[in-house]
Amino acid sequence: MIASEVIEERVQIPTAAESLSKERIAYLEGLVSQARTAAAVFTQYTQEDVDRIVKAMVLAGLAQAQPLARLAVEETKLGVMEDKVLKNMCATEFTYNYIKDKRTVGIIREFPERNLVEVADPIGVIFSLTPITNPTSTVLFKCIMAIKTRNAVIFSPHPYAWRCCSEAVKIMYEAALKQGAPEGVFSCLESHTLQDNAYLMRHKDVGLIDATGGPGAVKAAYSSGKPALGVGPGNTPVYLEKTADVSTAVVDIIVSKTFDNGTICASEQTVVIDDEIYDVVLKKFAELGTHICNEKETELLSRTVIDPQTGFMQPMAVGQKATDIARMIGLSVKPGTKLLIAPILGVGRAYPLSVEKLFPVLAVYRAKSVDEALKVCIDVNHAGGLGHTAVVFSRNDEIVRRFSAVMNAGRIIVNSPGSVGALGAVYNDLVPTFSFGCGTGGGNSTTDNVNIYHYLNIKRVARRTQAHMWFRVPNQIYFNLNAVENVRQFPSRSTIIVTNPSMEQIGHVDLVRRNIPEGTRVHVTVIPDAEPEVKVVMQGVEELNFYKADQIIALGGGSVIDAAKIMKLKYESPDADLEELAAPFLDLRKRVVQYPTAKVNHARLIAISTTSGTGSEVTPFAVLTDKERGQKVTLADYSLTPDVAIVDPQFVMSMPKGLTADTGIDCLTHALEAAVSTYASAYTDCNAMQAILMAFKYLPIAYEHPRDEEARTMMHSASCIAAMAFANASVGVNHALAHAFGAHFHVAHGRANALMLPHVIAYNAAIPTKFVPSPYQKGYVAHKKYATVADLLGLGGHTIEEKVKNLLGAIEQLLDQLGFPRSIADLGISKEEFERAMPELTRLAFDDPSWRSNPRMPLMSELADLFWKAYAGRGPAKVASATQLQTV
């Protein structure tokens, strides 16, 4: 790319096919049609076919490396024949070595662990511009890439390199045809105009433009509206740092800058040398056949090899020998001088030699410090070389790191020649190329060394992966009467019992205290019997710190256990930001805010529940009220799960009837929502189903006969078992509605759940208006799950519809038995008041994270509809007959 245009382009390629004759258009159309047919036919070829053709082409290219190089030098008058031979050999042999074992047909890569497969598709017709500086090598390289990827190419060589390029195309084409490549796979414009290029760049059947040329060609390619690979100009800065191996560095720079008389755009342009080694470096250059210009000579060079009007290099110098350039400008040098070195004092228009010079003239700059050196390299980089190549010679990794960080270059070449290094596969493991992507800095779409993967459309075949799931509960759960005695087995130096006043009054605190091992220092922290507040929690944390607690026993309902969870969190990780930890998330494992793992204290949390509903003793959730800010903070993380849960019915024997009903329905709702949750698994289903069975059987008994030990035991366990299900499968839209309604109208959570439950089941069992994406389940199964519940409860029914209706009837019957109000209207809330609240209710319900695992994604209008259904209410008979279930 690059220098081509020293000669041709400061002229823009036209953006439209102006003034093309009919005959010319017919000619161009013929080329495209032929290429399109060849590309279409090529899609039938196998990898083996392609590899066979490629090998034959590579051998043909190698055999013709010298004649092509000779032809290129004769025609372009640029570069060094011997170097061009090497370039042709690199373009064939090194490219082949890189691509020979790579798959480019069909499946090219497989990632079994990710269930991903990549499949290659050819692009079709590629329109390719090739440069004057590397004419034949670029053609050889592009032909090999095209065949390897089953594409057809129409070449548009630089006008001053047409003969050698068309010969290279011919050699490649004939070799390919002999091995069965499709007729017409390569063609070369027979003479061309900029209008031809414009026409082809915009042709509907051209799939990609690969423009290796000057800035004009690259810009035209990118402006055409077609996908394009265009590579920009360079201006390679080199930092020769004081720790470098000077002998190697000097030879590498000479090798690179004189290679093909400096026509490779990645070659070194300005070498910034540390003050400490500057003189040694220049002496070394001089010893190896380089002419170091004095001030006057530098000024002469600046005036002659750089166009004073444009500030760009003069075409007459491009690709010429140092001695020829010296002769042209009247500079006296020794015979055999390889390189002209010109010391400069800065970068920019005032220092003409600081720009790209595609000939053996090298600027050098003496830097007084690393910072100065880096700044000058940045200046050179920004003086026409953005995105291209930068070179550093240093033994100091920190210098290499700093240099790499500040250079805007697709290739940072370390301790090796810039030009040959950037070509790849010789001095390093870069991908071999004759097209350097220069990223956005150079106005390109890639920073890569362009190679076969840029000539392919790569399709990713993504198979459904089996979602990772989990089942996390406390390490130890003790249940049944006197389970509290298990507290004895946990040694502790200092235990804090967190509880509320009523627990002390009815003797539950003493009961726990009696079971704490002797010698343990015990302190009781009593908190109000309400949703925990930030202030209360922080007071608790102070006490934990004061007593240096190593064990916390939470004794109470959900509020107390939630408070204890947060106290433990703040005690162990004082820097935990509760507000930040409450940030919303969609998937626990991918959440943005992570819970702290570093802990300054450690305390075991034993949760003893005194109600049979929330199940907080086994869940990873905690709710906190921030009264000062007037907001609720919901925390969710498995690190909040208590270490030990005690499910002892003696703590719930005295629960009043109303609380028994409210908490019991909360338990049943947890289980029913977990059962149909999109996160449900076999692990949560067994818990959910068992809890439903137990609740239906024992809740009415516990309600009617509060002292029934078996009923209390079973309901207490049902609550814990349901919580294990929803701790892992979460809940659903019923909870979202109940949270919003309960908060707005100050209705107990269980009661609010009860009002919504039948309507939500009917809603979830119907065909969703909107399905919710769930990688965890196959198909829509909520209605079937409800039918399974009905079967489990022995409710009868032959079809899914019948079973769901029977389940609804059974739930209505249970709610009646427990004395729940059957409608929101029954609570004395007027229709007008409810209507006024509706926008707020639907907003709150929609914002509630609970419904995210609901099997049916609720629309706002549907949430409102559910609220209104709950407002009107329905009796059991009505539900059974009137529910229109549209099961799927």
Partner: protein, 91 residues
């Protein structure tokens, strides 16, 4: 007008020749001509040109061309060169 269908088997080794022969028979065809491609695994650019010519001649004579047994690879090639709409395809 009576419909006269002509059924021609295309041999993979001589697709171009077979299509030229088929083209000569178009004069005697009214209605449609069916070309059996079931033994053709691949086609090359010359076959595509022959198909284009054949389709043109068939169009001129108002004869519908049905390709039978075209494999997926060949079908894709015909699609890529915009020949798909010129033919009907049957399994």
């Amino acid at each position: 007008m009576a419909m006269i269908a002509v059924w021609l088997k295309i041999d993979e080794e001589r697709v171009v020749q077979a299509l030229q022969e088929a083209g000569q028979k178009l004069d005697s065809v009214e209605g449609e001509v069916a070309l059996d491609f079931s033994s053709v695994r691949r086609i090359d650019p010359s076959a595509i040109r022959a198909l284009e010519e054949f389709a043109g001649r068939a169009d001129d004579k108002g004869v519908k061309v049905v390709l039978r047994g075209v494999n997926v690879g060949v079908y894709k090639v015909l699609k890529l060169v915009n020949l798909g709409p010129r033919f009907s395809f049957v399994a």
